[in-house]
C-alpha cells in the first residue's frame, strides 16, 4: 500500500519546493545583475544625466521593510495555527505591498514632473525600467499572496500548507532585499 518510504529517505533536509524557490531567486538575481551592470557600463561612457531619486522612494523603502516584518509575523502565526493573528498579519503584508506599488507609481510621476522622462537620457530610462521590472516582481508576489489572503478567510488553516507560506515569505523577503539593493544602487549612482 505504501509507495513512499524509499522516496522519503531520499527527500532529505531541504524541501524541494523551498529549494526551487532559492534556485528561482538565483535566476532573478542574474536578471537584476544584468540590468544594473548594463547601467554601470553605460554610465561609465559619459553623457549621463545626474538627478536625485524622488523622495517618495524613501518612504516606499520603509513600507516594504515593514511588509517583510509583518510577513515574518504571518509565518510565525501560521506555524502556531493562530488563525486570527495570521489573518491580520497576511492582510497587513498584502496592504503594505499594494501601498508600495502605488507609492512607486507616484514616485514615477514625481520623476516625470521633475523632468526625468522615460525617454531621453538613458540615466532616467534605467531608473524607470529597473524599478519597473522590480515592481512587476512585486505584482506577481502580490497576486500569489492574494490567494493566501483569500484562503486565510475562507478555508481553515491547513498544516500542509505551511511550506507554501514559507516559500511565499522567502520570495517576499527576496523582493524586499532586492529593492533595498536597487535603492542603494540608485542613491550611489545618481546623486
Amino acid at each position: 500500500m505504501n509507495m513512499m518510504t524509499a522516496e522519503i529517505k531520499t527527500v532529505n533536509r531541504f524541501h524541494p519546493l523551498k529549494f526551487m524557490m532559492w534556485l528561482g531567486i538565483a535566476g532573478m538575481v542574474m536578471l537584476f545583475a544584468a540590468l544594473t551592470s548594463a547601467y554601470l557600463v553605460r554610465k561609465a561612457q559619459g553623457n549621463w544625466l545626474e538627478f536625485r531619486i524622488p523622495f517618495i522612494f524613501w518612504l516606499n523603502t520603509v513600507i516594504i521593510l515593514l511588509s517583510s516584518v509583518s510577513m515574518q509575523w504571518a509565518v510565525k502565526a501560521f506555524a502556531r495555527y493562530d488563525v486570527k493573528k495570521y489573518r491580520l498579519a497576511i492582510t497587513t503584508t498584502f496592504t503594505l505591498g499594494v501601498m508600495f506599488l502605488v507609492g512607486q507609481y507616484f514616485g514615477w510621476l514625481q520623476l516625470d514632473e521633475g523632468g526625468i522622462h522615460l525617454t531621453g537620457n538613458p540615466s532616467g530610462s534605467y531608473v524607470y525600467v529597473i524599478s519597473g521590472v522590480h515592481a512587476a516582481h512585486m505584482a506577481v508576489g502580490l497576486l500569489i499572496m492574494l490567494i493566501g489572503v483569500l484562503r486565510a478567510f475562507f478555508r481553515p488553516l491547513n498544516p500542509n500548507r505551511l511550506v507554501n507560506v514559507q516559500v511565499m515569505a522567502t520570495y517576499w523577503h527576496f523582493v524586499d532585499i532586492l529593492w533595498i539593493y536597487l535603492f542603494i544602487f540608485f542613491q550611489f549612482n545618481l546623486a
Partner: protein, 615 residues
C-alpha cells in the same frame, strides 16, 4: 511492500515528494502510479504531468521545429547555390516573397534569421534538453517524477506558446523577424530598418521571452530533482553522465537565460517606448530618429553573456548522451568518469568568462581581448580531455554498431573537427580577419549544430524503446546515419576554405564580387548536399512515426543490456515509473565486462570480495 514502512520517523505530510499529488486541500494521495485514477485523454496525453509524456511532447515539438528550421535552410541555399535562377515553384509557394521564382533579399534574411533562432533555441535547447532531461532525469535518478510535475507541465506549455508566437510571425504581412538570430541593434532596435524589424521582431522578442520562461521552469525542476529526489544509494558519484550533463546544462541556463531576458526587455523598450538603451543618433532615409545616447555594443555584451553559455547548453546534453551510449555499446566502463564530470564543470565555469571572443571586432581594448583569448583557449583543455576519454572508452571495446552508436562515433569525429577551428577563432589576431566569414559558419555548424544533432539522434535511437516500447528500423537508421554524416562534412567542410579567402557570411548574393565568383560551383555542390541531408532527415521522421505505431515490439525490458535504472522499469511504465518500491542502487552505472559479467545493473549489490572499479 509493507516491510518498506520500517522507518518510524517518516512524515509523509511534509515531504512534498513529487509523487504525492497534493490537491488543493493539501491532502496527499499516496500512490506512485496513476493507474488507480481514471485517466482522461486530456490529462494523459495533453495536459499530462508525467515527465515521460512531457519528454515526448518536447521531442515531437522539437522534431516539428527541426523540420521547419531545416526546410528554411534548404530554401535559402537555393539562392546561394543558384543565384538569380528562377524556380517558378518558389513563387507558387511563397508568392510575393519569391517574385518570378527568385527569393527576394528580404525573404532571404527572414529565412536565415528564423533558421538560426529555431535551431539554436527551439530544437537544440528545448527539443534536446526538454526531451532528455524529462525522460531521463527521473528515470535514471530513481524518482517517480519531477520535483514539481505541475511546473514541469507549465514548462512545456510555455514552450508551446512560444512556438505558436514564432510560427504565427511567419504569416504576418511583413513577415517574420529578419535581423539575424543574434538580434543586434541598431538593426533590431529600429522598426523601420527592415520589413521584419517591425511586428516580426516584436513577435520574436515575445516568443523568446516565453521560451526563456519555459527553459527556466524546466531547469528549476531538473536541478531540484537531481539534487533532492535521487533514490536510495544513488549518490552523486553513481549518477549516469547523462544526468550530470543535464544538471550542469540546467544550471548554465538558470544563470544565463535571465540575462538574455534583461537584454530583451531593454530592447523592447527601445523599440516600442522610445528609450535609448541601445540606440544612438540614427538617420533613416535622411530623417533623424528621436533616440540619443544609447550603446549598441552593450547589447552584444548581454547577448553573448548568454550566447556563449548557450552553446554549451546545447552541447552538454549531447556530451552526456554520447558518453552513456558509447560505454553501453562498447561494453566497457566509461573511461575517466571523474574526469568527465570535472571537465564538464570546468567547461561550465569557463563558459561564463569568454563571451567577448564573439566581439573581437567591436573595438574591444586589445588588452582585454588578450585576456579573453587566454580564457577561450583554456576551454580546449577540458574539451580535449573529453575527446580523449571517449576514444579511450571505445578503444578495444566490444563494439555494437547500432545506429545510436554510429551517431556517437560521428559525434566524436565532428566535435574534433569543429573544436580545432575554435582554436583558430579563439585567437583574436586570427579572428579579426575570419570573423563574419564562412569560416565561423563552418566552425559552429560542425562543432555545435551537427554535433549536437548527432548526440540528440543517438539519444532518440537509444531511448526510443523506452519511450514507445518499440524499436526503430535499423536499416533506415543506417541509411540516415551515413547520408547525414558524409553529407554534413560535404556541406560544411568546404565553407572553411571559402571563409579563409574572406567570403562574408549573411550575404544574399556574391555576384558583385569578382573574387568570390570562383565559389559558384562549390556553392551549388553545397546546396545539393544540403538537399540530400534534408532528405535523409525525412527518412528519420518517417522511421520515427512509423516505428511509434508499427515498429518491432520490445520484449526484453533491458534491450541494450544497460546498467542504468530506466531499464529496470516495465517496458511501458505508468506514471510513477516503478510498480513496486523504488529501486535501490549499489554501484555506478558503468560496470560493463567485469569479472566475466557482461553488464551489472546498478541495482545489483556487490558480491563479497568484488573489487570496485570506481572509488
Amino acid at each position: 511492500m509493507s516491510s518498506e514502512v520500517s522507518n518510524p520517523v517518516v512524515q509523509p505530510v511534509f515531504t512534498g515528494d513529487s509523487t504525492h499529488h497534493q490537491d488543493s486541500e493539501g491532502e496527499i494521495h499516496e500512490n506512485g502510479h496513476h493507474e488507480h485514477h481514471k485517466e482522461y485523454f486530456f490529462t494523459k496525453y495533453v495536459f499530462s504531468q508525467d515527465h515521460k509524456t512531457i519528454g515526448k511532447q518536447f521531442l515531437i515539438t522539437g522534431i516539428f521545429w527541426a523540420f521547419v528550421g531545416g526546410l528554411l535552410s534548404v530554401i535559402f541555399r537555393f539562392q546561394l547555390g543558384f543565384p538569380n535562377q528562377a524556380f517558378p515553384f518558389l513563387e507558387t509557394l511563397f508568392g510575393k516573397w519569391a517574385p518570378g521564382g527568385i527569393i527576394s533579399p528580404e525573404f532571404y534574411y527572414m529565412l536565415v534569421t528564423m533558421h538560426g533562432t529555431i535551431l539554436v533555441f527551439f530544437v537544440l535547447t528545448a527539443g534536446l534538453s526538454g526531451t532528455f532531461a524529462n525522460l531521463l532525469i527521473p528515470l535514471q535518478c530513481g524518482a517517480r517524477d519531477m520535483a514539481s510535475p505541475f511546473l514541469n507541465m507549465l514548462s512545456y506549455w510555455f514552450f508551446f506558446a512560444a512556438s505558436c508566437v514564432m510560427l504565427t510571425s511567419f504569416f504576418l504581412p511583413e513577415g517574420a523577424a529578419d535581423v539575424g538570430w543574434t538580434f543586434y541593434p541598431p538593426l533590431s532596435g529600429v522598426k523601420e530598418s527592415a520589413p521584419g524589424a517591425g511586428l516580426g521582431a516584436d513577435f520574436w522578442l515575445i516568443g523568446m521571452a516565453l521560451f526563456i520562461f519555459s527553459s527556466l521552469l524546466g531547469g528549476l525542476n531538473y536541478i531540484t530533482t537531481v539534487l533532492n529526489l535521487r533514490t536510495k544509494g544513488m549518490s552523486m558519484n553513481r549518477l549516469p553522465l547523462t544526468v550530470w550533463a543535464l544538471l550542469i546544462t540546467a544550471i548554465l541556463g538558470l544563470i544565463s537565460f535571465p540575462v538574455l531576458l534583461g537584454a530583451a526587455i531593454l530592447l523592447l523598450f527601445d523599440r516600442n517606448l522610445g528609450t535609448s538603451f541601445y540606440l544612438d543618433k540614427i538617420f533613416i532615409n535622411g530623417h533623424p530618429l528621436d533616440h540619443a545616447g544609447g550603446n549598441a555594443i552593450l547589447y552584444q555584451h548581454l547577448f553573448w553573456f548568454l550566447g556563449h553559455p548557450e552553446v554549451y547548453i546545447i552541447i552538454l546534453p549531447a556530451f552526456g548522451l554520447v558518453s552513456e551510449v558509447l560505454a553501453n555499446h562498447a561494453r566497457k566502463p566509461i573511461f575517466g568518469y571523474r574526469a568527465m564530470i570535472l571537465s564538464m564543470l570546468a567547461i561550465a565555469i569557463l563558459a561564463f568568462i569568454v563571451w567577448a571572443h564573439h566581439m573581437f571586432v567591436t573595438g574591444l581594448n586589445p588588452f582585454v581581448a588578450s585576456v579573453f583569448v587566454l580564457l577561450t583557449l583554456l576551454i580546449a583543455v577540458p574539451s580535449a580531455v573529453k575527446v580523449f576519454n571517449w576514444i579511450a572508452t571505445i578503444w578495444q571495446g566490444n563494439l555494437r554498431f547500432t545506429p545510436a552508436m554510429l551517431f556517437c562515433v560521428g559525434f566524436v569525429s565532428l566535435f574534433i573537427s569543429g573544436g580545432l577551428t575554435g582554436i583558430f577563432l579563439g585567437n583574436s589576431a586570427l579572428d579579426i580577419p575570419l570573423h563574419d566569414t564562412y569560416f565561423v559558419i563552418a566552425h559552429f555548424h560542425i562543432v555545435m549544430g551537427v554535433s549536437a544533432f548527432f548526440g540528440m539522434l543517438a539519444g532518440v535511437y537509444q531511448w526510443f524503446p523506452k519511450m514507445f516500447g518499440r524499436f526503430m528500423n535499423n536499416t533506415l537508421g543506417y541509411i540516415h546515419f551515413w547520408i547525414t554524416f558524409v553529407g554534413a562534412y560535404m556541406i560544411f567542410w568546404p565553407m572553411h576554405y571559402m571563409g579563409l579567402t574572406g567570403v562574408p557570411r549573411r550575404y544574399y548574393s556574391f555576384d558583385a564580387f569578382q573574387s568570390f565568383n570562383m565559389f559558384g560551383d562549390l556553392n551549388k555542390f553545397i546546396t545539393i548536399a544540403a538537399m540530400l541531408v534534408f532528405f535523409a532527415q525525412l527518412l528519420f521522421i518517417l522511421n520515427f512515426f512509423y516505428s511509434m505505431f508499427k515498429g518491432r515490439k520490445v520484449t526484453d525490458p533491458n534491450p541494450w543490456k544497460s546498467n542504468s535504472l530506466e531499464w529496470t522499469t516495465k517496458i511501458n511504465p505508468g506514471h510513477g515509473n516503478w510498480d513496486g518500491p523504488l529501486p535501490t542502487v549499489y554501484r555506478w552505472p558503468y560496470d560493463y565486462s567485469k569479472n566475466g559479467d557482461e553488464f551489472i545493473p546498478q541495482t545489483v549489490p556487490y558480491k563479497p570480495g568484488e573489487e570496485k572499479l570506481h572509488h
